[in-house]
Every structure is written in C-alpha cells, then in structure tokens.
Symmetry: C2
Subunit: 339 residues, 2 copies
C-alpha cells in the first residue's frame, strides 16, 4: 500500500488541523475542511489505511486521529505549505537585527531574541574556538596586580580574561609584553597558545616569572575555547503550550535544557541548511514529543555555530523554518567582519 495523492492530501489536512487545534481530528470535520468533496466514510477508510501505515495514531478508539512523528516527517520533507510572507519575514528581520549586532550580543542576546520572535525555546551554540588563529595579544592594566588579557583572532573573535600579574609592571611594560607575546604567538591556534602557556607555567622560565597565574589562565582558556558553549533562551515559552500544562512534563523539559552537553551534541549535528529533528530523532528523552529546528551561522571564515528552536512536534514547520533561515542569514551577515 502506498501513499497516493489523496492520502497525502488528507494527511496534510490532519497535520495542519492538529497543529492549530491540538485536538484529535475526526473524519467528519475533515471531510468538510480537506476540500476533496468526499464523505466522511471515505475519509474514514483512508484514515484507517494511514493508521495502519503508522502515520496516524488514535489516543483511544472513539477519538479522532493524531499525526505521528512519521507523519510530521513526511509533512516536512514532502510538503511545503505556506510559510511566512515577505512582510512578516521583514518585520521579524528588523526586530532581530536590532538586537543582535556582534558576537557578544549573539551570546548574550541571541537566544532571547530568537525565543521572543518565535515563541519557542531557543538555543544558541557558539562555535568551538580552539582552532581560531591568534592575530594579536594585548595586556591592559586593570588594578595594581590585575591585567586584562585580550586575544584577537583571525575571525575577529575576542577572548578576554582577567589575570593576575606582578605588581611591578606598569602600563607600558604590559604593552611591551603584549607586543612580545603577539610576536611570538601570532598565527598559532588558541589551542597551541594554551599548550605554550602550560609549558611556561611548568618550566618557569623568564616569562613565567613576569606573569603570575599562567596555569590558571591556560585552564580558563581551555574551558572557554575547547568546549562549545550553548545558551538557552525563553525556556518559559514552553508553558504556553497545552502539551506542557502538566508541571512534571514541564519540569522534565526544563531539566533537559540544563544538561548542556546533550544540547551541544544535539546542535553539533547541524548541517548546512535548515534542519528539522522530530520527536525521537532528537535523541533526547525529554524531547520525545518535541521538534527541533536548527540552522547554522558562520563567524568569520569557516567557523560555524548553530541556532535552534525547540517546541512541541505540533509546530508550524514552514513558518518556523523560514524564520530560522532568516536568522541564520542575519547572524552570518552581522558576524562577518570585512577583512
């Protein structure tokens, strides 16, 4: 038995009805809304077939049908119903670009901007930074025994860390040391710089005596650069969906958002275009009834991060995919400095 055109049409009508209503769809209403001009009995026959094929589920025998994950999958891959019109997109684009301008605001604002505009929970993955190449290093005096170390990389991305320094060093001495460090480390990756710092700390040569707390610094760099970082925004949006009216369910969802490492591995799977993971495809138990829409963004050349929204599988996919696609473009545009 295959899914012919009529079955597809019925399935589409069911999915779209369910997305709006969140109640099982019955054959009678369907015969009126799907526009095929056939009676409810015919629809019933088709629905029985679709149920047998695993596209539909009935909560209980005398209820209507609910689309399964398989149905959403078919819906997303085979059908491309109305997304957002130009006006809507443009309005959202403006709202978004007003809030996210540079890499810092992506990290601090990105997730909440996306969640505000989509009304879903948003995730932002910052790209792993240990492969970035160092362009220059700078030491800026902050207090008598503290300096700010600023690392500029080839993507314009900046890592800054406050470190302890010998109190004998004044501003110009620190500037000179910065120049020296730049000279020595230019072109190396952040990972190599880190290894070098570990080396200094261990060997305690001239530079190690000048800079205190180098091991600390290297460790902190490792933490900040080696693992991707993920930001969550708008977690409370989930409370607006009746699927999560039960506190236990909502709690499980929120807890899943706390487990950063699983979110990171979820977002690492982001590929070039817009990605959609439905239900179990997410690989996260608490997201069994959720869908995740992912999109990549580029920082500088080649280093990619990812954004995502998470919400009930009952989601206006086309609209949200349009949204995410737009965010992806906007971010990449905002973050690519001209060289």
């Amino acid at each position: 038995m295959d899914v012919d055109a009529r079955k597809l049409r019925i399935l589409q009508a069911i999915v779209e009805d369910y997305i709006l209503s969140n109640t099982p769809v019955g054959s009678r209403t369907l015969s009126k809304t799907c526009g095929l001009g056939v009676s409810s009995a015919t629809i019933r026959n088709e629905m029985a077939d679709l149920t047998e094929m695993g596209y539909l589920v009935q909560p209980h025998v005398s209820a209507g049908r609910v689309p399964s994950a398989k149905a959403y999958r078919l819906y997303v891959t085979q059908l491309r119903p109305r997304g957002m019109d130009e006006q809507e997109i443009e309005r959202a684009r403006k709202a978004f670009s007003g809030r996210v301008r540079d890499i810092e605001s992506v990290i601090s604002q990105g997730a909440s901007a996306i969640s505000d505009l989509t009304h879903y929970t948003a995730l932002v993955l910052t790209p792993r930074q240990s492969d970035l190449k160092v362009r220059s290093l700078h030491l800026i005096p902050v207090a008598s025994d503290r300096a700010l170390l600023v690392i500029v990389t080839d993507s314009g991305v900046i890592r800054d860390t406050s470190i302890r320094v010998s109190s004998r060093l004044d501003a110009s001495a620190l500037y000179t040391i910065g120049q020296m460090l730049t000279h020595r480390m230019q072109g190396l990756t952040l990972r190599q710089v880190r290894e070098m710092l570990y080396g200094y700390a261990a060997n305690s040569d001239a530079d190690a005596r000048v800079l205190g707390g180098i091991a600390d610094l290297a460790a902190q760099m490792e933490k900040q650069t080696e693992s991707d970082r993920v930001m969550v925004g708008g977690a409370h949006n989930i409370l607006y969906y009746p699927e999560y009216a039960d506190v236990t369910t909502a709690r499980a969802f929120m807890n899943a958002l706390e487990d950063k490492s699983s979110l990171i591995s979820l977002l690492r799977r982001t590929e070039n275009g817009i990605g959609v993971m439905i239900g179990a495809e997410t690989g996260i138990e608490a997201f069994r009834d959720c869908s995740v829409i992912t999109a990549p963004y580029r920082v500088g050349r080649g280093h990619t991060g990812a954004i995502a929204i998470v919400g009930p599988t009952r989601m206006p996919y086309a609209r949200m995919m349009d949204m995410m696609s737009m965010f992806s473009q906007e971010l990449t545009g905002a973050l690519s400095y001209k060289e």
Copy 2:
C-alpha cells in the same frame, strides 16, 4: 490582646510545620509537636485568637491553619530559629566561590550559581556604572575597520565595546590614540565620557574624523551604564514547589521575571544588610505569594549591586538569610581588587 510567649511559640511551630509540609496545620498535630504539653483544645483556643489577630488563615472551616504574611513577618523579625551550621555554610561557600570570581562571572554565572545552591529563583543586579571614574582607555585592532574599546574604571570594572574605526589606522596608531584618550579622560566619570563622545560626534572635530561611529558607541555606553542590569537564574526552580503546580500561576511568575524594570526597582530597595520582603511587600502582583530575600554586594569602593532569591512565602528564612549573607560577603570579597 497581645501575642504572649505561648502564642509566639505556637505561631512558630505552625510556621515551621507549614514550611516543611505545605499543608494546613491542625490543633492535634500541633499539641504533639510544639512541646508545650497542653491539649489540642487549648491550642485551638490560642489558634482562634491568632486567627482573629490576622496571623493565621483558614482555607476553609474544617481545615487547619495557614500562616499569613503577617505571621511570616513576625517570624522573621522576632524569631531567629536555627539557620545553617558552619559545615553547610562552608560547603556552599566553596561551591559558590568556585563559580564566581570576577565581575564578568558575576554577570554571566552569578544568578545560576545562587539559584543552584538555594533551589530558588535568583536575581542579580549589577551596579549602575555611570558614576565610575575612568582610569584608562585602550583601543585594540580587531579587523581592518574594527577596534575594541576597553575602558578601565576605578573599580577595576571594564566596559568593552566593539566599534568601527577608520581602516587607515594600524595597531600603533590606535595605541597612541588610546593613550591620548586616556590622558584626556582620566578621572572623568563614564557619564562625562559619554557626554564628551556625543560632543565629538556633533562637532566633528579632528578626533571625530579619526574615529567612526562615535555616536553609536556613546549610545551603547549609555544603554549599558545608565540603567542597572538584572540577571535572572533558575527560573525553573519554581516548578518544584507545589504552590506553582498550576501552569497559569507558574506562567504569571515567569512573566513577572521578564519585566526587568520592576525587578530593578525591587532590587534597588536593597539596603545594607539582608532584607526580607514578604508577599505584598514586594510590590509585584505575581509575587503576592512569594518572599524575596535580598543582599547587597560592593564592587570596588562604594558602588553596590544586589542579589536576591525569590520563592514561595513558605521558605526556610533563617537558612536562606544565612546563605544570602554568605553570598554577599563572598561577592564583595571577590570583587574588591586591591588598589
């Protein structure tokens, strides 16, 4: 009718029982637990008095009593039952100081550290920074037409912003400009610096031609420094309290957390020591059944921020006040650089 010692003792027992059980407290259980050695009938008489005086509320006539906000207020101000012992405090202190080291981590980590350790929702108010005095300014080349402006203030607090600059300027030119700016602006407040930048942008004198996007920068500084900023952490903790098992209530709570300006005015009321606001005292409708415990922290000299936790009025006040007091000390310690 006044609150004599026995009434106080009974009230205390009710509050503490209710904090643990979250169920109305009856006279029978109370006669056993309060340790007065009187019968339930006697307790009932006293409870009737306390109800009349507004310290107790009965949800319905055949239920036990529930402490009112007035009761919690009396409990907090007059009674000081067991807080945390030294060991507990010490363990929490370690966990906290491991996560919050400098002003940046207070902003990014503070709220979630506090919420993790208390299991309540945490708020962190960063101090207004426009009164800080500038110590030095630095320009660091990031890309051909971008530089990082770092402002070091007398509290060691750093404001950094990415700005557009003329592409004709190389690293050493930017360094020189930084020195010049430092020379000119040292000792001024951030507010004065901002005004000066606005002036440059308007008059378009020599320096304005050198630096592009000055007005942008000034506006951004204004936004970042003029208004206090507030961070929220662990909002989902509220879902663990049965008082918020209803999604509508939880949603109202979460929405209140989105209204930053009312949170700011809540936290601005923080005074020198640990503050406790109970129910309507918070002035926020959604926090009518919540209590807020606030504590100040100092950054450098004199500039104060505030931390707070928000949770159901049924809260182990003494323990939480101990906690907040410790956080306050730790933060102030971690953020006061030696001069």
